[in-house]
Amino acid sequence: MLRVRFLAVATSCCALTFGVAACGDDDEGGGSTTAGGKTLTIYSSLPLQGASRPQSEDVIKGERLALKQAGNKAGDVRIKYVSLDDATAAAGKWEAGQVSANARKAAQDKNAIAYLGEFNSGASAISIPILNEAGILQVSPSNTALGLTKSGAGAEPGEPNKYYPTGKRTYGRVVPIDTIQGAAQAQYMKDEGVTSLYVLNDKEVYGLGVAKNTEDAAKKLGIKIAGTDGWDGKAPNYRALAGKIKASGADAVFTGGIIDNNAPQLYKDLNAALPDAKLFGPDGVATVDMTKEIPPKVQAKTYLTAPTVAPDELPPAGQKFYKDYQAAYGEAEDQIDPYAVYGYEAMSATLAAIEKGGDDREAVIQAFLDTDKEESVLGPYSIDEDGDTTLTNYGAYFAKGGKLVFNKVIKGQTS
């Protein structure tokens, strides 16, 4: 009898576990598949679970808006949009196995023409080789890690060639790379009177890269580097690490990493140990969720950069984007994530490439790499041979009242 009862409970528990696992399944967005003409699929792969979810949702809204405004078409080709989740509930952020599964799903779909993602550079390091072998255009709305496209300071040995097994480039991005963000961060620090900086990274591809780029840029501007270290996203607190930074005498800390790696706790502990120190963070922590999670006294010491500037600093097309976005989704302007506009532009540039290349994957990739826009929501830009944008503007932000408050535009000067 006991055994029967035990089995019943065990079965229920298994059912519960599988039920929980099922909650992390992909979300498949709708798209136009009406009769007439060729229908191709654009996949989007972003983290839809964990702290990055609100950010990803706004990127998807931007992508959908661009597609809707294009009439769900690129030239004569009808477009089906499929949204995939590259995060798992258990990881609470992007997860390598899920990223790989998403990329393989697109690679095995003969109608796939482009793949928008990933949000995180570390995730793209996994999906780029898979899509490269499949010959599918990949456009990221948010990757900033240098090593995905270029070699040099901030890139790991073997980067970027190891991501392109065919030897041909299939990946591009519409957001400026971390050498530019690093330069913008260093300029922001200089403007705020920083003299001695402690550099932290979250030990991921993106965090290591942006930390190295910021460190190099800060040195060039005469800011002393008091020390460098990594932080463990699974640690319960960072008091000892904060104590170490305090002992170094730094008057500012740069945190190269993403919000999902326990960044709010890191900021709280840093502020407690170094109440006078300024806390600088890159776009990985420049999110509305981050500013909501840290208390006001920490917000007052927080300085962030994101590749987006205030709507009124954008060209007319960019300002129109914000109006259209608010009309479509009813979100207040200060609640729209900075990356929403990049989601829009990633989709727009991809649709333009499909319009030129049609259903020929190779032609679409080449068309994207030849992008030279005189007008876009981000202003005029082109894509270089490595797949990088020529945009250099970075927005400097404060955190106030649980929101990101735009401060000024900083042009990232890399030389």
Binding site: L2, R3, R5, F6, V9, A10, C13, L16, T17, V20, C23, Q49, G50, A51, A87, T88, A89, A90, A91, G92, K93, K203, D229, G230, W231, D232, K234, A235, P236, N237, Y238, R239, A240, L241, G243, K244, A247, D260, N262, P264, Q265, K268, D269, A272, A273, E293, I294, P295
Partner: protein, 375 residues
């Protein structure tokens, strides 16, 4: 062939006699060597262990004296280690109590602790404890939350024992171990459904990192006081309870020999359930302290804390209450010194290197095992 070796030409009987004489002569020499080895091993076990434990503090203390002229940084590391370790110690008590009585590594215990942090966090919101709550309301609210978290975790632990472990009491030892791992995953998934996969910030109700006073350059915060002020009384109450109370004696008797205990009229099943209850109560208390001290809750926190707490229990001597507390405090200190001086990426490796070294020198743990296996 004359003039050969002493054994080469001698008759077989003579050779055997010679061999036995040599063996007899060698016995005292080997015994002497063995005695020397044993005493060396005993010396190393006793003092080498102390040496190992002191490697990091002495090395960094010396470095501090050379550089800064005082030991305040090292003392701050040790103070932080004690307050972090106090939370681990409470969790470690649950591991050691259960292992002591049924020789099961209850892998779900760390996740019971995690549920304690979630219950505390949830109840703060339910009763409206915020940063604006006055001191009296805060103390009363936290007291009620402490009781609720302890009762919730205690009840949960008893239910786990009843559902997963009791039916497997006479099964091969691997079966309850697998059940424990299974329950660990189930509780993790409950946490995941409850608050999602991200870290959640807890309102800093006690102003955890606010400095209360300073002793010889060592700042003592409100969080440090809370961790120690809750842990020490609980450990003393628990130790006194197990030594003096009737059910405590029954727990010890069951731990030593369940069959003999049963023959003496002790209800072994009830006693084991009670042990799980006590372990759960401790995990609940640790859950509240952790939520207030770390100001962060996460569904995966139980795995990390559970692993460290289990390590603490083994380091101190599994089944030994004082050992679990000592192990927790030592691991807390090693963690803080490593985080502060060496680098967070090295901390897990250093903690487990310490565990391996301690077990090499003293397999029974620092204060000795108290299990049926150990006698």
């Amino acid at each position: 062939m004359s003039g050969g070796g002493p054994t080469g030409s001698a008759p077989a009987s003579q050779q055997r006699a010679e061999k036995s004489r040599m063996e007899a002569a060698s016995v005292p020499a080997r015994a002497g060597r063995r005695g020397l080895t044993d005493s060396a091993r005993s010396f190393i076990s006793r003092y080498g262990l102390i040496g190992i434990l002191l490697i990091l503090p002495v090395a960094f203390g010396y470095s501090d004296l050379q550089r800064e002229g005082d030991l305040s940084r090292l003392a701050t590391n040790l103070k932080d280690g004690l307050s972090n370790g106090a939370i681990l110690a409470l969790v470690a008590l649950g591991y050691t109590l259960v292992y002591g009585i049924i020789e099961l590594i209850n892998f779900a215990h760390g996740d019971v602790f995690m549920i304690g942090t979630f219950v505390s966090f949830g109840f703060f919101g339910t009763i409206g404890l915020t940063l604006a709550t006055g001191p009296l309301g805060l103390v009363l609210g936290l007291l009620v939350t402490l009781i609720l978290a302890m009762v919730a975790c205690g009840t949960l632990n008893v239910m786990i024992e009843r559902v997963a472990y009791r039916p497997l009491r006479n099964a091969p030892r691997l079966a309850p171990l697998v059940a424990a791992v299974g329950f660990s995953f189930i509780l993790q998934n409950v946490g995941l459904l409850w608050l999602g996969g991200s870290h959640r910030s807890v309102p800093d109700l006690i102003n955890s990192q606010k400095q209360l006073f300073e002793v010889a350059g060592v700042p003592v915060s409100q969080g440090d006081i809370l961790a120690v002020a809750v842990t020490i009384p609980l450990v003393f109450v628990l130790a006194g309870f197990i030594v003096r109370s009737r059910i405590g004696k029954a727990m010890r008797a069951t731990a030593q020999d369940p069959d003999a205990a049963r023959l003496m009229g002790i209800n072994v099943d009830t006693t084991i359930s009670f042990t799980f209850l006590v372990g759960g109560l401790m995990a609940g208390a640790a859950g509240l302290i952790s939520a207030l001290y770390q100001t962060d809750v996460w569904f995966f926190a139980g795995f990390t804390a559970g692993l460290l707490a289990f390590t603490a229990a083994v380091m101190g001597g599994i089944g030994n209450l004082k050992g679990a507390v000592l192990g927790g405090l030592i691991i807390g200190c090693i963690q803080q010194i490593s985080d502060n001086r060496i680098g967070t990426e090295w901390t897990p490796a250093i903690v487990f290197a310490y565990l391996v070294l301690i077990l090499v020198f003293r397999p029974q743990g620092l204060l000795g095992e108290q299990t049926r296996e150990a006698g």
